[in-house]
Every structure is written in C-alpha cells, then in structure tokens.
C-alpha cells in the first residue's frame, strides 16, 4: 500500500493523526497533515483505510503496490 496526502484539501481536523499516529502527524503551525510513513506495514493497512474514511475532506488516498 502506498499512502499520499493532499495538503491543499486538508483542513487539519486531526482525525487521521488521532486514529493512526504511526502514519499521520500534523504540522504544529497550521495543523495540516504530515505523512510520516508513505509505505506503512501490512498490519496497519486496515487502520489506514479507517483514516481515509474518517477524513472529512478526502485528503488521503491509497494505492495498491
């Protein structure tokens, strides 16, 4: 799985960073998403999907690798 984020869409709701701090963080200045791990290990894939679903502005995308 490859994860990408779009900071032009992100509003810094922090849903992803709350759900999965291993993969997502937030910039301390504007709260926008910071991707920590673009290729998270398999055991986190379900949680990534969950984060995708929780994002209120669809700023997270995944592609199969």
């Amino acid at each position: 799985m490859h994860v990408s984020v779009d900071t032009t869409l992100c509003i810094g709701s922090g849903q992803c960073a709350l759900a999965l701090p291993e993969v997502f963080d937030q910039d301390e200045t504007d709260g926008l998403v910071v991707l920590l791990d673009a290729k998270p290990p398999r055991e986190l894939h379900d949680d990534v999907d969950e984060a995708v679903n929780r994002c209120p502005v669809q700023a997270i995308a995944t592609t199969a690798t």
């Binding site: 922090g14 937030q26 301390e28 504007d30 209120p56 502005v57």
Partner: protein
C-alpha cells in the same frame, strides 16, 4: 403543483434519544425534500447519510451567514439571515476567508496537543468527582460535573483568567438559551467580546496562564477583533456542545444498563463507545445550514440560488443504509466510522478531538468512582433541552 402543505422542521421527540420521527420518515421516503422555514421561506432538508456527506463536501454550497436560515425559530432573538459573518466566525464563512482562519486555529487543536492535555483533563475530572463525593450521595450531574468540566477545559484552552470564568459561563448560557430575550442575548455577547478583547490585547494579571488567545495575539496574523470573535465562538461552542454531549451520554448510559455494564467491565472499549454515543445522540439536533449560490442540480433536484437547506446530522447518523445493524440501537462496539456528529467537510468541528478526550476521560472515571450511580428521578422527569440549539439535559439528578 402539489397541494400538500410543505412541513416545518419537527422539534417534538417521542423518545428522548431518538430524533423526531418525521425526520426518519422523510429519510426513508425522500432524503432531499422541501421544508418550510419560520419566515415562510420554502427551502429543503437533507436527511440521508449519503446526501448529507455529499452536500457538506460540495463547494457549490455556501456556509455564509447572510444566507443562513435556522430551521427552528428562537423566540425573542433576531434571525441572523442577511447578516454577514462577524470577524473570526469561521463557521459563517466560505474559502478563502474560512481557510485563512481555520489554518490559524487548526495548529492549536492538533491531535498531539489534545493528547497532551490528557493529564490535565484527568486532574480536573478527579477534582470534580472528589467534590461530588464530599457533597454526596446525590447531585445534579450537569451542574456538578458536565458544565464545570466543559467550562474549565475551554477556559484553560483559551487562556481565560480564572477570575473571569464564572461570568463567562453565565454569559455563555444566556447566549445559547433559545428563550433568552434579544436584549439579554446581545448584552451577554457584548460582555463576552469585551473580556475576550481584553485578553487578546494582553490584559489580565501578569504571569497568567497562556492559552490560545495569547498564542494568536503573539502570532499577529489575526487582528484583535478576529481573535475576540474566535474566542467567543470557541467558548460558546465548547461549553454547550461538551456539556450537552456529556450530560446526555451519562443519561443514555444509565438508561441502557447492559451497554453501561459492557463499558465498566472493559474500559478499553471507551474510544469506540464515545464515538457511538456521539453518533447516537448527535447534540447538534437542528443540523447545519447550507445555501447554493447559483441555480444547480443536486441529487436529481433543481435547487435555486438562495434556497435554504438544512442538513440533518441527527437523521444522517441514524441512516440504516450506512450504519446497518439497527441504527436506532445504542451499541458501544458497533462500527461508527463515518458518523457526522461533528459535521463533515471543511467546516467539521474544530474542537472535536478535545470533546473526544474529555468524554474518554470523564465517562470511565465517573462510573469507576460511583459504580452505583443511578437516576434520582424517573427517566421521563429528566428535563431535556429540546428548545436549545444544542440538545442535552438541563439537569440530571443522580444518586450513588
């Protein structure tokens, strides 16, 4: 032309935790349908989960206050229709004005910061529970717990000096009470603004705790009026929504003893339990207003520029097409992903992770301290704020 009269937004609830039945009937029959507003404007109401999320992420729908109509009339208050957003009130703005403010604030509400607040939250919760214990074996849980918790947390977050907090709380309640007169509301608002401007301008005693208002002032991007506006917005929203969510959650758990037993037996389910309570109770029960700025087609219907639309979060959160297994049942371990208790799209609640942390801290601690907590009055005598813009319990008499 249909001869059927266009209905108004319902306010009566058959059962305290369920949205008005009419909303659910509309959802099943016609999830985007006409609705009459208090000023006789005929607009729309959205009741399905699918259309609610679609509309709240569609940039063609404006959140600007000058187009907003509240679906339910607040006696004694002026409608905000026609009035542009006050400085700092990002909920009433569209991009790019909204974006500029949101980014200033989002950095203050990151998940990391909210997690770091946890020890302080635990401290406040423990103090309040100890005070309850000393005064026991009975109290009003709203006055003794939910309200002071919400109030102390938002005041700390903002950096409101402790000496100003009692008056802040009074003014906030006047502001959001639907039965307040226009004069009272406006006076309360003026007092809140004045104190906020004071704080933003660096007032207060030297060495006072620093919070969001001071951080925004130091940053210098927003002017004093905007900072005061942000402060009033966050304070009022923080008070009422958190108080409502907490009070109503305790009432719901006491009314569902099997679910409460699951939570006390296994506190590790608390994160999901909080999401489920947020979904099930949806305290923003009059939904969120949106308006198309041009004639457009949405979900197969022709909408006109200026049509008022209410997106019913309460109805969307009970949509069986999304939540499946008996969406009307409180189930603390159900899959809750996608609930819209905090709204959806760019305006989704800024303080949502703070509310989550408060509830995750407060609920297990309350039931751990008072394992025999129960209602002191019959459930039907618990006064509900069906008249408030945020749903909740006015009082929750309990014993232990």
């Amino acid at each position: 032309m249909s001869a059927e009269p266009v209905p108004a937004h319902p306010t009566g609830r058959g059962r305290p935790f369920d949205p008005p039945q009419e909303l659910m009937e509309w959802q099943a029959r016609e999830p985007l349908q006409r609705m009459r507003y208090p000023d006789e404007h005929v607009g729309w109401v959205v009741t399905s989960h699918e259309l609610a999320r679609a509309m709240l992420t569609d940039a063609r729908f404006s959140a600007r206050s000058e187009f907003k109509r509240a679906p339910v009339h607040r006696p004694g208050t002026e409608p905000f229709f026609g009035v542009p957003a006050a400085p700092g009130w990002l909920v009433d703005m569209d991009p790019p004005e909204h974006t500029r403010l949101r980014q200033q604030l989002a950095g203050q509400f990151t998940a990391r910061r909210m997690r770091e607040l946890r020890p302080r939250l635990t401290g406040i919760v423990d103090e309040l529970l100890s005070a309850m214990e000393r005064g026991g074996p009975g109290t009003d849980l709203v006055e003794a717990f939910a309200l002071p918790l919400a109030s102390q947390v938002i005041c700390e977050l903002l950096g409101v000096p402790s000496g100003d907090r009692a008056e802040f709380q009074r003014n906030s309640r006047i502001l959001f009470n639907l039965t307040s007169t226009a004069a009272d509301t406006s006076a309360a608002l003026d007092r809140l603004y004045a104190t906020m401007q004071d704080i933003a301008a660096g007032g207060g005693e030297p060495g006072e705790t620093s919070g969001l208002l001071q951080a925004l002032t130091e940053d210098g991007t927003l002017d004093t009026e905007e900072i005061a506006g942000v402060g009033v917005l966050l304070l009022t929203a923080g008070h009422d929504s958190t108080t409502g969510s907490l009070g109503l959650s305790v009432f719901a758990l006491l009314s569902h003893p099997d679910e409460l037993a699951r939570l006390t037996a296994d506190p590790s389910i608390v994160d999901n339990a909080v999401e489920e309570l947020l979904r099930y109770l949806t305290v923003f029960h009059f939904g969120v207003p949106r308006t198309p700025l041009e004639d457009l087609e949405f979900a197969g219907r022709q909408l006109r520029a200026g049509d008022s639309i209410t997106v019913s979060l309460s109805a969307a959160n009970r949509d069986p097409r999304w939540f499946q297994d008996e969406a009307d049942r409180l189930d603390l371990t159900r899959r809750t992903t996608g609930h819209v208790a905090f709204g959806y799209g760019i305006h989704q609640c800024l303080g949502q992770n703070l509310v989550r942390m408060e509830m995750r801290t407060a609920l297990p601690a309350l039931f751990q301290r008072f394992p025999t907590l129960s209602l002191a009055v019959p459930a039907e005598n618990v006064p509900l704020s069906t008249d408030m813009s945020v749903y909740g319990v006015h009082r929750l008499p309990v014993v232990w």
